[in-house]
């Protein structure tokens, strides 16, 4: 078992972080806003943690204190949230594809800043971020509870007034407005929630990866998170979580499959060198054949007799 954890520790924690990043994109999507800004806040959170832990908090001793890591996460979350409000208030007047484009621009501008400022270490980035744990799997002590908290938060959110307001805006903004739901406040709120989550994950990420540079918040990352949400399913919070985990593990699974010798050699070679080709193909096939994603609300209703009865009634 310990062998398993030492081999796959990095992958397991990566999967948890990816699930949270997918949730950070799902939150604005709850109110119908396609925002690709998550990698920007993720990068920001990472830089805050990297700068604080290497330049400000000079902890002595073997391991970096965990309470300081938690403090960094708090600061990263607050800073990301504040920036999200500043950017979100004007940007969320835009709808659909325009908002997506504005957030792409936001991520690119942040990346250029990261490449050019002194505090972020330019193109080289920040090295030697201190480690609070001896092995990578131990990061699960932070990542797993945080993932569970985030999932519980979104699960509850889907069932209370604020979350229902988000969903009302997603279904029809004008109708929601007419019913007394303030679209601007709620859209900015959902955008900010996603940003806070992404910023906090970034703070973990900087320690986890040990180094932080401008390659962390890129357009590619935006696309990967979007794929997590849309392939996983954008109708319930479990979709992004499972999508993030599965798609992060996929390259490793393909690599493991190609390594055990049970497949013909040409296929093995292809899976090793061309696994991103499969990744792209899977995205296209997923959109064409599974437009709702893998996890849909109907997926759960199989266990619920009430929903089943309602379905029969609709069919009749």
């Amino acid at each position: 078992m310990s062998d398993f954890f030492s081999t796959y520790g990095f992958l397991l924690v990566s999967m948890m972080l990816a699930a949270m990043l997918a949730l950070s994109l799902y939150l604005p999507l709850m109110s119908g806003q396609l925002s690709l800004a998550s990698p920007g806040f993720y990068a920001l959170g990472g830089y805050i943690a990297a700068v604080l832990s290497t330049k400000v908090f000079t902890a002595t001793g073997d391991l970096y204190p965990v309470p300081l890591l938690l403090l960094e996460m708090l600061i990263a979350g607050v800073a990301s949230g504040a920036l999200a409000i500043v950017v979100g208030v004007p940007a969320l007047r835009l709808r659909g594809i325009y908002l997506a484009l504005a957030t792409i621009a936001f991520v690119e501008v942040l990346q250029v800043l990261a490449l050019n400022l002194d505090v972020t270490g330019g193109a080289v980035g920040i090295f030697g971020v201190p480690q609070p744990f001896r092995t990578q799997i131990e990061y699960a002590w932070i990542a797993a509870p945080m993932l569970i908290l985030a999932m519980f938060f979104v699960y509850r959110l889907e069932r209370i007034r604020v979350g229902r307001a988000f969903i009302a805006i997603k279904e029809d903004e004008l109708a929601a407005d007419a019913m007394g739901v303030n679209p601007t406040v709620n859209k900015v709120l959902s955008f900010t929630m996603g940003a806070v989550l992404a910023g906090m994950v970034g703070a973990i990420g900087a320690h986890f990866l040990n180094t932080w540079n401008a390659r962390q918040g890129t357009f590619d990352a935006s696309i990967a998170y979007l794929a997590f949400v849309l392939i996983g399913g954008s109708r319930t919070f479990l979709g992004p979580v499972l999508g993030g985990m599965a798609l992060t593990a996929l390259p490793e699974i393909l690599r493991a499959l190609s390594g055990n010798g049970s497949l013909p050699l040409w296929l093995t070679e292809f899976m090793k060198d061309g696994r991103f080709i499969l990744y792209g193909l899977l995205l296209v096939l997923g959109c064409v054949f599974l437009p709702q994603g893998f996890v849909t609300p109907a997926f759960f209703s199989r266990w619920s007799k009430k929903a089943h009865a309602a379905k029969l009634k609709r069919a009749a």
Binding site: Y98, A175, L226, D273, G274, Y279, C287
Partner: protein, 319 residues
């Protein structure tokens, strides 16, 4: 900034701006008809450059499956440019059939089509890397035949000082302008262009009037891919093909161009391309690190102040 540098930067800006324009027209044509941003356009741009490189008799490096392969033809640049771009156009048609049409037939969410087109971009980019490796390919030095590498604009304009301008820039500018003129004539003066505009205005009504909309969507994708291929070849021949990813950042700048011009607006894409090309050319050298932020800064500001673009018209949101 002295006058010579000004002229040089002006021509640089016009030349890169005109490539932005023809590239962004590829996005805009598809958007005007389907209301979808086709992210695979950036990958078609990359493909076009590789196609032309191959048709000119270029040999691939030792990485990738097609190591040291080459085709047994050596076409001159102008011919290879046309054939390479036609191939890129055919690729765009294939992409439409496989990644757009199945979703359109079902009436899927436009955002889903966007992700599907991104999937195609990832697929093509990594397929290129798998086949020919990630190294930089440079077009042969004799690409433009016997033209001198630079032309002295100071002598041409009688300025009394030397203002060297790379021939590449002029070739790019001339090719782009010629293509822009032909395209404008096709769209505004021919029966084909009229039908195309009708489909863009209202697909359902156009089909009721006897226009084969499905065919026109395919033709639009072909045109879009052709323009992407030309742009890719021109950029590749002016600098080099900087690996399979070289279309991606160009593709993002293309988005800035079409938003600036107004999504789906054809003259707007041309104006937007020139504005962004010139804005980038006039970034002072000490801030050159921020050059890539210019397009996105403009994009962000335009979205906030005038979301319909410079020349775009207001669309009334109906319930």
């Amino acid at each position: 900034m002295n006058f010579a540098t000004f002229i040089q930067q002006l021509l640089n800006g016009l030349s890169i701006g005109s490539v932005y324009a023809i590239f962004a027209l590829g996005y805009t044509l598809v958007f005007s008809i389907l209301g979808i941003i086709n992210f695979s356009h950036a990958a078609v741009f990359t493909l076009g450059a590789y196609f032309t490189f191959t048709l000119m008799g270029g040999t691939f490096g030792f990485n990738g499956v097609l190591a040291n392969a080459s085709v047994p033809v050596q076409l001159p640049f102008a011919v290879a440019l046309i054939f390479g771009s036609v191939l890129a156009g055919l690729m765009a048609v294939l992409i439409e059939r496989l990644a757009f049409r199945p979703l359109r037939v079902r009436g899927a969410d436009p955002l889903l089509t966007l992700v599907s087109s991104l999937g195609v971009a990832i697929l093509i980019t990594n397929l290129i890397q798998y086949l020919v490796g990630a190294e930089i390919y440079t077009f042969p030095a004799s690409t433009y035949g016997d033209l001198p590498p630079a032309i002295d604009f100071g002598k041409l304009l009688g300025l009394g000082q030397i203002v060297p301008v790379r021939t590449v820039q002029i070739v790019i500018f001339v090719v782009s302008v010629v293509i822009l003129i032909i395209l404008t004539l096709i769209i505004n003066r021919t029966r084909f262009g009229k039908a195309l505009r009708a489909v863009a205005e209202d697909t359902t009504t156009a089909s009721l009037l006897g226009i084969n909309t499905d065919l026109f969507i395919l033709l639009t994708f072909f045109l879009s891919g052709f323009l992407g291929g030309v742009a890719g070849t021109l950029v590749g021949s002016s600098v080099s093909i900087a690996g399979p990813y070289f279309g991606i950042s160009f593709g993002l700048k293309g988005l800035a161009v079409i938003v600036l011009g107004g999504l789906g607006d054809i003259p707007g894409a041309v104006v937007g391309g020139l504005v962004i090309g010139l804005a980038e050319a006039f970034v002072p050298p000490e801030y050159s690190g921020y050059k890539d932020a210019v397009a996105f800064g403009i994009l962000f500001v335009v979205l906030l102040i005038r979301p319909r673009g410079l020349l775009g018209r207001t669309i009334i949101q109906k319930v």
